[in-house]
């Protein structure tokens, strides 16, 4: 079946100018013409590097000049899965993603959106603006702000001292917690906006009816509100997980992955391997692992966001 017969069967589809005169095949090509620049750019700059990524991952490519590039099969992957640093990077990535995205941004964003519904308008717009400001600030600036905040002589320890709580050198003792909190600070706005929009669409009659039946605040939230917004929750979780997996600049500015690799996530370790030690082959093999993890998450996200029309 050709594209044109599909179009004829469905009266809703508009006909192109001069539809009757132009032969079917060339008309289809004409119609697709505006897509060409997009397809070319996507093939060259996205599909191309991904194919390169797969190819390099099976070679011993190095960027140190004289050496030739050889096909080495699965050697890079075998090396990775025998490399303690690689496991460490996977672990740090996991901690960072769970702590900052799935728990931090997601829950804080939902809490803020819920508080918005009760709080006064002035406070709502001030806090909303502050949370969004942290989001709009460029990544590298956010990194430096957070670096200053968590430093030994920074604001956090000052606040803790004021509250008579124990202080410590966060970037040294708990770097992964510091960068995770930094990512919460930077990224919560997205979840806040998604959940504010989602909560606004929960019909008031639903929660009111539940309240009439004697459901408490918590029960109403758990049994009425949450099931109604579950689609937004799924979408939001997917998107923030994908964003968090590839965070580089924030961690690079705050800790550069240190001290002693205690905040070296996969993007940081890949960068160190490929562009500081010039082991391109090994680095891309690890990048491929990150790409596969991202692709798997992206597939789940695709299922949640599948375009429904035709």
């Amino acid at each position: 079946m050709t594209a044109s017969t599909t179009a004829e069967r469905t009266p809703a589809a508009p006909e192109a100018p001069g539809a009757a005169r132009v032969p079917t095949r060339s008309r289809t090509i004409l119609r697709g013409l505006p897509l060409v620049p997009a397809v070319v750019l996507l093939l060259v700059f996205l599909a191309g590097p991904i194919i390169y990524c797969i190819y390099y991952a099976f070679t011993d490519m190095q960027l140190t000049g004289a050496t030739t590039t050889n096909f080495v099969g699965l050697a890079n992957f075998r090396k990775a899965f025998g490399d303690d640093q690689f496991y460490n990077a996977i672990l740090q990535t996991l901690i960072f993603t769970v702590l900052s995205a799935i728990v931090g941004q997601n829950i804080l964003g939902l809490v803020i959106a819920l508080l918005f519904r009760l709080a006064t308008k002035v406070l709502r717009s001030i806090v909303g603006a502050l949370v969004i400001a942290a989001w709009v600030v460029p990544e590298i600036v956010a990194g430096y702000l957070m670096y200053a905040f968590f430093r030994d002589e920074g604001s956090l320890n000052e606040i803790l001292k004021f509250l008579h709580l124990p202080q410590q050198n966060w970037l040294y003792t708990l770097p992964i917690l510091a960068v995770s909190l930094a990512n919460v600070w930077r990224g919560t706005a997205f979840s806040m906006l998604v959940y504010s929009a989602a909560l606004a669409e929960v019909p008031a009659e639903l929660t009111e009816a539940a309240a009439m039946d004697g459901a408490g605040v918590w029960q109403r939230f758990w049994h009425v509100t949450l099931p109604t917004i579950r689609r937004s929750v799924a979408t939001n979780l997917m998107l923030i997980t994908l964003q968090t997996l590839s965070v580089f600049g924030l961690i690079f500015a705050m800790t550069k992955g240190g001290p002693s690799n205690k905040s070296t996530t996969l993007p940081i370790y890949t960068y160190q391997t490929a562009l500081q030690n010039y082991e391109i082959g090994y680095g891309t093999a690890m990048a491929l692992v990150l790409l596969v993890i991202g692709a798997l998450f992206s597939l789940v996200y695709l299922r949640a966001l599948r375009p429904e029309a035709d």
Binding site: A3, T6, A7, E15, A16, P17, G32, L33, L35, P37, A38, V39, L41, F45, L46, P49, Y52, C53, Y56, L63, L108, L115, L118, A119, T120, I126, V127, L130, I132, A133, A134, V137, P138, E139, I140, V141, Y144, M146, F149, S155, W185, V194, A197, T235, M238, L239, L242, L245, S246, G249, I280, G283, T284, A287, S298, L299, L305, R306, P307, D310
Partner: protein, 277 residues
């Protein structure tokens, strides 16, 4: 009694929200206080001695204006590529039916989720081999391409909301599809075009990794990368005051753009356009 419980809930919500607000405010406040303070400080405090020296020091061509201009060329060019190509691509995707459309849209959506960080190593290797490294134009085209999947997706959703009936009239009058796109569809969806433009630009302006990898010559670096010089020990240790002053200049464009966007359309509307199926 129910009323007093409700009132107590309201107070608790306000207090909770205020705490969140302070937590988000403190790090932002540091930039402001440090930028006008004399001497080094890493915590938020009222400056003992005010000074304009930090601002005066950074407002030179080498430190501020060239990186900002580079960023403008890189991100402005990239945004232009994304927006123009996305408009063109969105038109057939929004208006015509085809067997290929659904797989294409699914691929686009899938691509929006891929971690760009992961492909930067092969991109670096590819650019080095093809002699494209450290070239402003190739970095610009690359930036434009990486923003394309989300741009197309967003643009198509905005275009879908323009009713097709108006175009049918134009078509029967013999106007070409590109002419209808320019004269009928675009004027009706300009808020959507503005949202995509601003979104794309803000994303690129803050992008650190791509120019960090693809550009080398210090004279070509945008502000997102040149900010590192403040951390260079060779320049006499970390200059926090100058770093803060520089950050303020660097943030102003995106802050203004965000305000423009949220004035014109609510933030949730923009996201709604992006997230609806």
């Amino acid at each position: 009694m129910a009323k007093s419980v409700q009132a107590a809930g309201k107070v608790a919500a306000n207090v909770g929200l205020a705490v969140v607000g302070v937590a988000f405010l403190v790090p932002l406040l540091w930039v402001v206080t440090t930028s006008v303070a004399q001497g080094q400080t890493l915590k938020v405090e009222w400056p003992k001695h005010f000074t304009g020296a930090n601002f005066a020091h950074v407002t030179t061509v080498d430190i501020l204006f060239r990186p900002l201009l580079n960023g403008l060329i890189l991100c402005g060019g990239g945004t232009l590529i994304t927006v123009v190509v996305a408009i063109l691509a969105a038109y057939p995707l929004s208006r015509y039916r085809s067997r290929l459309k659904r797989p294409f849209l699914l691929t686009i959506l899938f691509t929006t989720g891929l971690p760009i960080t992961a492909i930067m190593i092969p991109v670096y290797a590819m650019f080095t081999q093809l002699n494209l490294i450290d070239q402003m134009w190739s970095a610009t085209v690359f930036m434009g391409s990486t923003a394309l999947p989300f741009g197309i997706w967003l643009m198509k959703n905005f275009m879908d909301s323009v009713p097709v009936e108006l175009e049918e009239v134009a078509w029967t009058d013999g106007a070409s599809s590109m002419a209808t796109l320019r004269r009928i569809v675009l004027p009706l969806m300009w808020p959507g075009v503005i949202v995509v433009t601003i979104f794309t630009f803000i994303g690129m302006w803050g992008n650190f990794f791509v120019p960090f990898i693809l550009l080398i010559d210090p004279n070509q670096l945008p502000a997102s990368v040149s900010i590192f010089t403040f951390f260079d020990p060779q320049h006499g240790g970390v200059q926090y005051g100058q770093l803060a002053a520089f950050s303020i200049f660097y943030c102003i464009p995106v802050a203004v753009l965000y305000l423009v966007m949220s004035r014109k359309l609510s933030g949730s509307f923009a996201l709604g356009g992006a997230l609806k199926g």
